[in-house]
């Protein structure tokens, strides 16, 4: 009985995947042009120094030292929610940049294609890190238990062998290279929003 139910579930998953691929193939025509106006206003600012402070083991140790176990748990939950929000923003920004890079790859200029490839590679790294960290954080938040006392947030610095903050900084650098032709004021707003 279970094997038949699982078989149907797998067949349904496969059918949905087929429909998705068909949609991908179909939506190639007509191709949508994406430029800087489709990127800069859609980015959410990510405070990297805040992320650094959340992941700092010394700050966490100080918190644990100053607060009692109950208050530390509460503070830790707040820090987790904050970091979850930061990873959500990172993932969103990476998605916006991936779409831009995918459109840029159709350019006839090999340098632009190369810069778009580098941008896409970093953005995918950020998306993977955000996905894995998001799963981990949601699981920890779901537990609502004493485990929060023993889970140092510094462990979230890397997921799937990807250093999140380092990869995000690399993404910003790749974005700087990809948008080098923009006027200075637009570049400023790009960096502010990233």
């Amino acid at each position: 009985m279970f094997s038949i139910i699982f078989t149907w579930l797998i067949v349904a998953w496969g059918a949905l995947a087929c429909i998705y691929m068909l949609r991908c193939a179909w939506s190639r025509f007509p191709r949508r042009d994406v430029d800087a106006d489709d990127v800069i206003p859609f980015l959410y600012p990510v405070d990297i120094s805040l992320a650094e402070s959340i992941l700092d083991p010394a700050a966490e140790f100080e918190c644990r030292w100053k607060l009692g176990p109950r208050r530390f748990r509460e503070a830790q939950r707040k820090r987790m929610r904050l970091y979850l929000e930061l990873t959500r923003r990172m993932a969103h920004n990476a998605k916006v940049l991936v779409e831009y890079a995918a459109a840029e790859k159709h350019s006839h200029d090999p340098r632009r294609v190369s810069l778009a490839s580098a941008l896409q590679e970093k953005a995918i790294g950020v998306r993977l890190y955000s996905l894995l960290t998001g799963i981990k954080l949601r699981f920890w938040l779901l537990l609502r238990a004493d485990i929060l006392n023993s889970m140092p947030l510094a462990h979230l610095r890397s997921a799937g062998e990807i250093d999140g903050l380092q990869t995000y900084s690399a993404l910003k650098t790749a974005a700087a290279a990809a948008f080098i032709q923009l006027p200075a004021d637009e570049q400023d707003s790009l960096f502010r929003n990233l």
């Binding site: 995947a17 590679e121 993977l128 799937g160 910003k172």
Partner: protein
């Protein structure tokens, strides 16, 4: 009528020529081996078509070959896609886990649905269904990653997985549903298999008909001009 059953052979020859033209044996060697084997297997089946014992032997030997190569191709696809994404230790466990799940599902199904086959033929058939499960798992899993991570879907490993995934999904559906039709089962199954496999080969031809774009930055490009470098330095300074 017999001509129609060999349409996939003609398409496979076309696919093999496309793969050679694209030099894809360097990118996806297992899939290239699979395509070459499929052409040889279909020619062997065609040659022995009028001699029942030889055809039966050829059929089961080539089916076993399809099982092994089908697994190897899925391993290659998964390694290519995941290898570019992460070097985490657990990524190496994904294929064995998928393989165990596929074999488990196939064995469970064999227990529920009694087979008329026995001996080695039974094991080859169980292996074939396990390969179908693995192909759907890998295909659907990879396609799920496309919107999640923003991966580029038009790349060779995704093309290989799409062809196999479509065929395996249709065949699993056919194997599960068409058994309700009794004696009409064999005819329906044969035609569904023929059409689904032909579509799968057409998908492969379409994916391999264009050269794969570089997924990593091209190191052979000429150095940036002094003006570009200055702009780049200014941009980085403003970023900080």
């Amino acid at each position: 009528m017999i001509f129609l059953t060999y349409i996939p052979l003609l398409l496979l020859v076309l696919l093999l020529l496309t793969l050679v033209r694209r030099r894809s044996f360097k990118i996806v060697p297992c899939f290239f081996a699979y395509a070459a084997f499929a052409v040889a297997a279909d020619i062997a089946r065609f040659a022995t078509h009028n001699h029942h014992p030889s055809y039966r032997l050829t059929y089961w030997v080539t089916e076993a070959g399809y099982d092994v190569l089908g697994m190897l191709v899925m391993y290659e696809v998964l390694r290519k896609v995941l290898g570019d994404l992460t070097r985490a230790w657990w990524s190496r466990l994904i294929f064995p886990a998928v393989l165990i799940a596929g074999i488990g599902m196939s064995v469970a199904r064999a227990n529920v649905v009694p087979s008329r086959l026995s001996g080695i033929e039974f094991y080859i058939a169980v292996g074939e269904i396990a390969v179908r499960f693995v192909q759907v798992f890998v295909f659907a899993g990879l396609v799920t990653l496309v919107p999640l991570l923003g991966l580029r879907w038009r790349q060779y490993p995704f093309g290989v997985a799409t062809g196999f995934g479509l065929y395996a999904t249709v065949m699993l559906l056919a194997t599960t549903k068409f058994s309700d039709f009794g004696t009409r089962f064999k005819l329906l199954w044969g035609w569904t298999s023929l059409v689904a496999y032909s579509v799968a080969v057409l998908i492969w031809i379409w994916f391999f008909s264009v050269p794969q774009k570089a997924s990593t930055p091209n190191s052979e490009l000429s150095a940036a001009s002094a003006g570009d470098l200055k702009q780049y330095k200014d941009a980085l300074r403003r970023m900080r």
